[in-house]
C-alpha cells in the first residue's frame, strides 16, 4: 500500500457536513436504546451488584474475608487500585498532552477517553478506602486542624496518593466539563424535549457560541490542559512511590516512576481501544473514529508497551548488576518462583503480543487489535499483582514465607469494579455526546486555515 506523504490524512471521512456530524453524535441521545443495550446494562450492573455484596461483607466481617495474610498484606486491593488508576491515564493524555502537542486526531476520541478516565478514578478510589479495613476513619486522611490535633503523616506516600488522586479527579472532571459546555449548548439548541432543554440549559452556563465565549473557552481549556499534564504524570508517579520509597527488593527501584507512567498510559489506551471498537460500531461512528485513529492508538500502545518491556529488562539486568543478593533473589523468584506463571503472563501480554503492532496490517485489523488490547488489560493487571505479591510473599526470613490465595470475595470485588466501570460507560454513551461536537468540526476537511493560505501567501 503506497502512501502520499505530501498530504495529511483526512481526519473525518465520508464527506460529512457539520449537520451530519451533529446528527451522528447526538443520535444515541435522541433515540431510545434497543434491547442489546439493556442486556449489556443488566450484565454490567449485575457484576456491580456482586461487587457491592462483596464489599458489604468486607465491611461487616472485616478484611479477613479476603485472602490477605502474613506476609502478603497487600494483594488484590492495591492491585486493583493501581490497575484502575492506570486506566485513568489515557483520557488525560489524549485530551491534555495531545492537545498541547497539537495532535488534531485526538478530537474524535478525547471525550470518550476522558469519561473513561473519570470512571476509572472512581473505581480506583474505592480500594484505598476499603483496604484500610476501617473505611469510616478515612476522613483522617484529610489534613485539617481537628480537635485531637491529629495530622496525617506527610512523609508517607500513601498520603500523597490521597492528594494526587483526588486532585487529579477534580481537575479531570473540570477539564471534561469545560469541554462539554459548548456541546451542552448545541444539544440545548437542537432538542425538542422540555426537560432535556432545561437540563442542557443549566449545564451550558448560558453559552451562546459567541466570539467572546470561544475566547474565554480556549484560554481556560489551554490552562487546564497545562495543569492536567503534570498532574497526569504525577498521579502514577506518586502511586509508584507507594512501592519505590520502601526498601523492599523488587519495589525499591529508581525506574519505577517513568515505568509506572508508561504502563498506565499503555493500559489506559488498551482499555480505550477495547471500548472504542464496540462503540464506533454500535453508534455508527466509523467515519469519525476511523481506522486511522485506531492505527495511531495502536502505535502508542506499541510504544508504551515497549517502554514497559524496557523497564522489565532494566530491572532484571540491574538486579544482577547491583550485586545485591536480595535483589537478585527477588528477580529470580519472580521469573522462576511459584508465581512464574503470572510473571510470564505479564511479560507476554505486555511486551510480546503488542509487538504485532509493528505491522500495519495488524494495527488495522479489528479482531487482532481487540485480542491484543484485551491481553494487554490482563497483562497490566498481572503486572501490578506480580509486583505487589512477589515482593511480599517471601520475606527476608524463610520462616516468614507464604503464598497468597484469593477468596471469592476478592474476585467479586474485582469483577464488581469492572461492573461499576462499564455501567458508568454505558450510561454515559446514552446521556452525553461521546465525541466532542464542537472540536470535531474544527478538523473537518476545509476547516483548517491552511487550505486558504496555501496558494496565496509566501
Amino acid at each position: 500500500m503506497s502512501l502520499d506523504y505530501s498530504k495529511e490524512l483526512t481526519l473525518v471521512q465520508g464527506n460529512m457536513t457539520m449537520a451530519d456530524l451533529d446528527n451522528a453524535i447526538a443520535k444515541p441521545m435522541d433515540t431510545k436504546p434497543n434491547k442489546n443495550y439493556f442486556i449489556a446494562l443488566a450484565f454490567t450492573s449485575s457484576l456491580l451488584l456482586l461487587g457491592v455484596i462483596a464489599v458489604s461483607l468486607t465491611f461487616y466481617y472485616g478484611i479477613g474475608e479476603w485472602g490477605n495474610n502474613q506476609p502478603v498484606g497487600w494483594a488484590f486491593d492495591i492491585t486493583n487500585f493501581v490497575f484502575w488508576v492506570g486506566i485513568a491515564h489515557a483520557g488525560t493524555l489524549i485530551s491534555a498532552i495531545l492537545y498541547l502537542l497539537r495532535q488534531k486526531w485526538r478530537t474524535a476520541i478525547s471525550r470518550f477517553s476522558e469519561a473513561m478516565t473519570i470512571f476509572a478514578v472512581i473505581c480506583a478510589g474505592i480500594f484505598p478506602i476499603i483496604h484500610t479495613g476501617r473505611p469510616w476513619l478515612a476522613g483522617y486522611l484529610i489534613p485539617y486542624p481537628n480537635a485531637m490535633q491529629l495530622w496525617p503523616n506527610f512523609v508517607s506516600p500513601l498520603v500523597w496518593d490521597v492528594f494526587a488522586v483526588s486532585t487529579y479527579f477534580i481537575v479531570s472532571l473540570l477539564f471534561w466539563y469545560v469541554g462539554l459546555i459548548p456541546d451542552f449548548a448545541t444539544l440545548r439548541d437542537r432538542t425538542v424535549s422540555k426537560i432535556k432543554k432545561f437540563i442542557y440549559s443549566l449545564f451550558s452556563l448560558g453559552w451562546r457560541h459567541s466570539n467572546r465565549d470561544w475566547r474565554h473557552y480556549e484560554k481556560v481549556y489551554m490552562i487546564l490542559a497545562g495543569l492536567a499534564t503534570p498532574l497526569v504524570l504525577s498521579v502514577h508517579t506518586v502511586v509508584s512511590f507507594d512501592f519505590a520509597t520502601s526498601v523492599l527488593p523488587g519495589w525499591h527501584s529508581t525506574i519505577f516512576p517513568p515505568y509506572f507512567v508508561a504502563g498506565a498510559i499503555f493500559s489506559g489506551f488498551a482499555m480505550v481501544v477495547t471500548a472504542l471498537v464496540f462503540m464506533r460500531k454500535v453508534f455508527s461512528l466509523e467515519n469519525i473514529i476511523t481506522m486511522d485513529h485506531l492505527d495511531r492508538m495502536n502505535k502508542i500502545i506499541l510504544l508504551t508497551g515497549s517502554m514497559v518491556g524496557y523497564a522489565y529488562l532494566m530491572e532484571f539486568f540491574i538486579s544482577w548488576y547491583s550485586g545485591v543478593p536480595t535483589e537478585q533473589y527477588v528477580a529470580i523468584n519472580r521469573a522462576f518462583g511459584p508465581y512464574a506463571w503470572g510473571y510470564w503472563v505479564m511479560v507476554s501480554c505486555n511486551s510480546i503480543f503488542p509487538q504485532l503492532f509493528w505491522f500495519r496490517r495488524f494495527r488495522r485489523s479489528i479482531p487482532v487489535m481487540f485480542i491484543v488490547v484485551v491481553l494487554v488489560n490482563v497483562g497490566m493487571w498481572f503486572e501490578r499483582f506480580i509486583i505487589i505479591v512477589t515482593s511480599l510473599h517471601r520475606d527476608f526470613l524463610p520462616s516468614s514465607w507464604g503464598m497468597f490465595y484469593p477468596t471469592w470475595v476478592d474476585f467479586s470485588i474485582l469483577f464488581g469494579s469492572f461492573g461499576l466501570f462499564f455501567t458508568l460507560v454505558l450510561l454515559f454513551t446514552r446521556t452525553l455526546p461521546v465525541v466532542t461536537m464542537s472540536e470535531i468540526k474544527g478538523v473537518v476537511e476545509g476547516a483548517q486555515p491552511s487550505h486558504y493560505e496555501g496558494d496565496h501567501n509566501a
Binding site: S2, L3, E8, L233, T254, P258, M314, I318, S450, A458
Partner: protein
C-alpha cells in the same frame, strides 16, 4: 514545487565558520595534549566529560531525525538537515574513543584486577565489567549508530534529486527500528561510561536520565543553528516563528522531563536511604560539590523551565538563542557533575583545574568543522522531501 525552489538557494557557510572551528580545535588539541602530559588521571576524566557531551549531540541528533520520520512530523522537515549534519560527527567517535581506551585504568576501578580480586560484589560483576567486553560493547554500539546514520542520511540525500516517496517509507522503517536500538544503546552507554565509574553504584533509571539530557541538548544544538542559519539566509525563507515555537516547546518539555527523572532518582535514593545507593549522592554533596549540585538544579531545571514557559518566550528568537546556548552549557555541567566526582573518590577536597575545560574546545571545534563540511557538500534543506511543503506551511 516552485515555492520550495524559490525560497531556498544552496550556498556555503562563510569562511569564518571553518576558521572558528579550526582555531578551537587547534587550541584545544594543544592544551589537551598538555593536559594529558601534566595530569593524565584528571585529563582522562575531563576528556570523558567532553566525549559524552559530543556523543550526546551526535547521537541525539540522529534520534531527532528518526523521531521525525517515526512520528510522521512535518513541521521539523525544514530543519532536519541540521540534525543530520550534527549526526555526521558520529563516525569520528571511532577515533575519539581511542584516548579513552588507553586510559581505562585511570577511569575505571573495575579494570584493575587487583582491586576486583577478593571483592565479592565486583567479582560477581566482572562477567560484564571487564575491559575486553567493555571495548567490544562500545565499538559495537558506535557501529550500530553508524549503520543507521549511513542508511537514513543516504536515503534522505538521494531524495533531494529523485524526490522519490519510497525513500521516505524506507526511512520510516529504519527510524522505527532505530528507536528501540537507541533506547538500549544509550542505556548501555550510560551504564558503561558513567555509572560504572563508581563500580558499586546502580540505579535502574540511569539510562533514562542520560536519554533526557541527550535529547535536550540535541534540541538546543538544533534550535541555535536553525535560528542562526535562518537569520543569515541559509535556510528556507518560509520558516517562521511558528516553527521555532515547536522547537521551544520540545526544549521546554525535555527540561521538565529531565527534572522529573532527576527528581525521581534522587528522591527515591534519599527516601530509601540505603548506603549502597546514597554514597553516590553523598559524593556529589561533600567538599564543594554541593554547590555544583545546587547549581545544577537551578540551571538545568528552574531557569530553562521559567525561561521557556510562556508562549512569548517560545516565539522570541533572542530568548530561544540564549536558552539554547544555556542548555548546551548546562548539559556540559550535567556531564561534569556525573563524571568528575568519580576522580575525587579518595580525597574529598576537589578543586577545578584548567584541564577540565580544554577538551570542550576540541569537540566543539570538531562539531563545527564537520557541520561546515556537510553544508558545503549537501543541501541544508531537504528539497526533495514530500513533507517539506507541509512543513513550510505549518502554523500554530
Amino acid at each position: 514545487m516552485s515555492k520550495i525552489e524559490s525560497g531556498y538557494n544552496k550556498k556555503s557557510l562563510p569562511n569564518s565558520v571553518s576558521k572558528i572551528g579550526g582555531t578551537l580545535l587547534a587550541i584545544g588539541l594543544l592544551l589537551g595534549i598538555a593536559g594529558f602530559l601534566v595530569d593524565s588521571y584528571r585529563a582522562s576524566y575531563a576528556y570523558l566529560v567532553s566525549f559524552i557531551f559530543f556523543l550526546s549531540i551526535a547521537v541525539g541528533s540522529l534520534f531527532l531525525v528518526a523521531l521525525e520520520y517515526a512520528a510522521n512530523a512535518d513541521w521539523s522537515t525544514p530543519f532536519r538537515r541540521i540534525s543530520e549534519f550534527f549526526a555526521a560527527s558520529l563516525p569520528l567517535l571511532l577515533i575519539l574513543v581511542v584516548p579513552l581506551f588507553f586510559n581505562t585504568s585511570n577511569l575505571f576501578l573495575w579494570s584493575h584486577a587487583g582491586y576486583v580480586h577478593g571483592d565479592k560484589m565486583l567479582e560477581a560483576k566482572s562477567a560484564y565489567l571487564n575491559t575486553p567486553f567493555f571495548m567490544v560493547r562500545v565499538i559495537a554500539i558506535i557501529l550500530l549508530w553508524l549503520f543507521f546514520y549511513w542508511m537514513i542520511t543516504k536515503n534522505s540525500r538521494k531524495q533531494d534529486e529523485t524526490k522519490d516517496q519510497v525513500l521516505t517509507k524506507r526511512n520510516i522503517t529504519l527510524s522505527v527500528i532505530f528507536i528501540p536500538v537507541f533506547a538500549i544503546t544509550i542505556t548501555l552507554t550510560a551504564i558503561d561510561w558513567i555509572m560504572s565509574l563508581e563500580s558499586k553504584w546502580f540505579s535502574t533509571i540511569f539510562g533514562v536520565y542520560l536519554f533526557a539530557g541527550v535529547v535536550w541538548c540535541s534540541l538546543a544544538a538544533l534550535t541555535f543553528s536553525a535560528i542562526k542559519l535562518k537569520e543569515n539566509g541559509y535556510l528556507h525563507s518560509a520558516i517562521k516563528e511558528d516553527h521555532y515555537y515547536s522547537l521551544g516547546t520540545l526544549m521546554f518539555a525535555f527540561t521538565a522531563f529531565w527534572g522529573y527523572i532527576a527528581f525521581s532518582q534522587y528522591m527515591l535514593v534519599w527516601y530509601g536511604n540505603l548506603p549502597e545507593e546514597t554514597f553516590w549522592f553523598m559524593q556529589r554533596w561533600d567538599g564543594g560539590w554541593k554547590f555544583v549540585s545546587i547549581l545544577l538544579i537551578i540551571t538545568h531545571f528552574i531557569v530553562p523551565f521559567f525561561g521557556l514557559l510562556s508562549y512569548e518566550a517560545k516565539t522570541n528568537v533572542k530568548r530561544l538563542k540564549f536558552m539554547s546556548v544555556w542548555i548546551l552549557c548546562v548539559h556540559f555541567l550535567d556531564m561534569y557533575w556525573l563524571i568528575m566526582p568519580g576522580m575525587s573518590r579518595n580525597n574529598h577536597a576537589y578543586s577545578f583545574s584548567w584541564i577540565d575545560f580544554v577538551f570542550p574546545l576540541v569537540f566543539i571545534g570538531i562539531l563545527i568543522l564537520v557541520f561546515n563540511k556537510m553544508a558545503e557538500k549537501f543541501n541544508l534543506v531537504p528539497v526533495g522531501d514530500p513533507k517539506l511543503q507541509r512543513g513550510l506551511n505549518f502554523h500554530l
